[in-house]
């Protein structure tokens, strides 16, 4: 049973239906543009949350630099598209690759730190990235940089699907299991021949790549990118989505990103309440479901499977 089995065909069909329904609503103007923007942001945050989950939920490293990698992806894609008249695809690939390179360079020294120390170091580095862009007048500096809007629902949706598919493939491969063994018991993992530093850096680089990709999609959708968007609060928001859905669950991160993005959009008119409500959701979650909505389980469509005939 390879890639084209019944399960994957059903999944593909479901994705096509979801895509088609919203595409139809959008083209026929039955859906308000604000809702469309929320949907595209959901796609972007799904990529961010799943990639954060690779680092934190699966590999067990509490790194909080995601806003920084998102910023690198956004600005580097804008550099290609706006300053060098490159294509959207080149911009996205360049943005994601630069974020991955930054991830590897940052990961090599910082991933030797543990727990809180790693969190603080990566938060700090994320802020350094933001402040660097703030002072780069060539890329707009404090006023921000306007980028033509070339991303639509089709791009955002399918880039999200491909990203989640690739990350989930990684986690379900031997190399992904090596990452999970680091989370489970680092000493035992080493004794079983797993180079734990290598797999931490690998997970971190992959997380940074997809955070950069999400940042590139964001930049080419939002008309304007601004360093303020990529503050450490963004990293916290992404982490909150992962924790809400469940550390170590990809479908959990999808649900978490969906819920928090929609709640945020719903509270767009009351920005002062936004963080309060999100904090409240997190507190309720910690009391009733401390392992997140899905724990470390995956939501499965098994009930849609045809029973095997004996």
């Amino acid at each position: 049973m390879k890639l084209l089995n019944t399960k994957n065909l059903i999944r593909l069909l479901l994705l096509l239906v979801v895509y088609g329904v919203f595409q139809f609503l959008f083209v026929s103007k039955m859906i308000n543009p604000f809702y469309m923007m929320t949907l595209i942001l959901v796609c972007i945050y799904i990529i961010l949350a799943v990639s954060q989950n690779i680092i934190t939920g699966f590999t067990g490293q509490l790194a909080l630099g995601h806003a920084g990698f998102m910023a690198i992806g956004a600005y580097m894609s804008a550099l290609v598209v706006v300053r060098m008249q490159g294509s959207l695809v080149t911009g996205i690939i360049f943005g994601a690759l630069m974020a991955a390179v930054a991830g590897m360079l940052i990961g090599l020294p910082t991933l030797r730190l543990r727990g809180d120390y790693l969190a603080i170091a990566t938060l700090g580095l994320g802020e350094i990235v933001r402040i660097t862009f703030l002072n780069m007048d060539y890329l707009g500096g404090a006023t921000g940089l306007s980028v033509p809007k070339t991303i639509d629902w089709t791009w955002a949706f399918w880039l999200m699907v491909i990203s989640v598919f690739l990350m989930s493939n990684f986690i379900n491969s031997s190399h992904g299991r090596a990452c999970i063994s680091v989370r489970e018991n680092e000493i035992a993992a080493e004794a079983m021949g797993i180079n734990t530093t290598k797999y931490k850096v690998m997970a971190f680089t992959m997380g940074a790549f997809f955070a950069g990709l999400a940042g590139a999609i964001y930049a080419n959708y939002m008309y304007l990118i601004h360093p303020g968007t990529f503050s450490f609060l963004k990293s916290f928001e992404i982490l909150a989505m992962v924790v809400l859905g469940g550390l170590g669950s990809i479908t959990g991160s999808i649900v978490g990103a969906g819920i928090l993005t929609i709640v945020s959009a719903g509270l767009a008119d009351y920005p002062e309440f936004r963080m309060v409500i999100i904090a409240l959701i997190m507190i309720i979650l910690m009391v009733y479901r401390p392992n997140g909505l899905l724990g470390n389980k995956e939501f499965k469509f098994d009930f849609l499977q045809f029973r095997k005939k004996g």
Binding site: K2, L3, L166, N169, F170, N172, S173, S174, H175, G176, R177, A178, I180, S181, E184, N185, I187, A188, A189, E190, A191, M192, G193, I194, N195, T196, M202, G248, N296
Partner: protein
């Protein structure tokens, strides 16, 4: 040439000499015991042999090559595997996944094949699954393959530790109290199993164990540690009648 040779090996923890001046030689195919009262330094020896601790003094030679300072995971690739006295399984993963992770160093496909689901991935995973199940079968754990490791009863967790160590394909296997917490029947079974895997996989085994009758029954040679010092070594009969060994163990019982 000895497979493992240890020369004047010492380990101090801020003043406390956990192991001092240990000399040890183990030849290929031997099954050697390492015994001693609680806190004698046995586990510390294992931690030095596997690169978890860097010895304060002395050298370790494996297959004639000095291995001090080589990181733990590389020693695993060289062929040294171990189990842990305080069980260290990957608790939230299945029994099968535990063994697959140990087999990762022999994985036949690269990261890109996994991410893009190239044909090599399916072939590699199938092979890995078969190999992992075969290791589980040896320890009668194949019917538990899909259970979470943390949900296994104690005795089975200990057996899974050995299955997982075997999956790295070692030439030297270090077992740290593999029978701790087992009942006499399970212990007897385990000892027969250890003898069998040694033959089947051409292993050299160094075994830490508290159960005297068991060590005496299965080991060809025994090293005795007391307060980090090697007070005796020889064949089981010599150890049994050695006055220093008797004193060390009587001393323990008197407390």
């Amino acid at each position: 040439m000895a497979l493992l040779a240890v020369d004047k090996l010492s380990m101090s923890f801020s003043g406390l000499k956990a192991v001092s001046n240990l000399d040890m030689e183990i030849n290929e195919g031997e099954l050697v015991g390492l015994i001693g009262p609680n806190g004698a330094g046995k586990t510390t020896v294992f931690n030095m042999l596997t690169g978890v601790y860097l010895p304060s003094e002395g050298s370790i030679f494996f297959e004639g090559k000095k291995i001090n300072g080589i990181p733990t995971y590389k020693l695993s690739h060289l062929g040294i595997a171990r189990t842990f006295q305080n069980i260290r399984l990957f608790g939230d993963l299945t029994v099968l996944e535990n063994v697959k992770i140990a087999y990762h160093q022999h994985v036949s496909y690269n990261m890109a094949s996994g991410i893009f689901r190239l044909p090599g991935y399916y072939r590699g995973e199938k092979d890995m699954e078969e190999k992992a199940l075969a290791f589980l079968k040896i320890f009668s754990l194949d019917d538990k393959a899909q259970e979470l490791a943390k949900n296994l009863p104690y005795g089975q967790q200990r057996r899974l530790e050995i299955a997982r160590a075997l999956a790295t394909k070692p030439s030297l296997l270090l077992l740290d109290e593999p029978a701790a917490g087992m009942n006499p029947y399970e212990t007897q079974n385990l000892m027969e199993l250890i003898r069998w895997i040694r033959k089947e996989f051409n292993l050299t085994i160094l075994l830490i164990e508290h159960d005297m009758s068991l060590v005496m029954g299965v080991c060809e040679r025994i090293y005795v540690l007391d307060y980090g010092i090697n007070i005796a070594h020889g064949c089981p009969d010599e150890i049994k009648s050695n006055p220093r060994v008797i004193e060390a163990y009587l001393g323990e019982e008197a407390i």
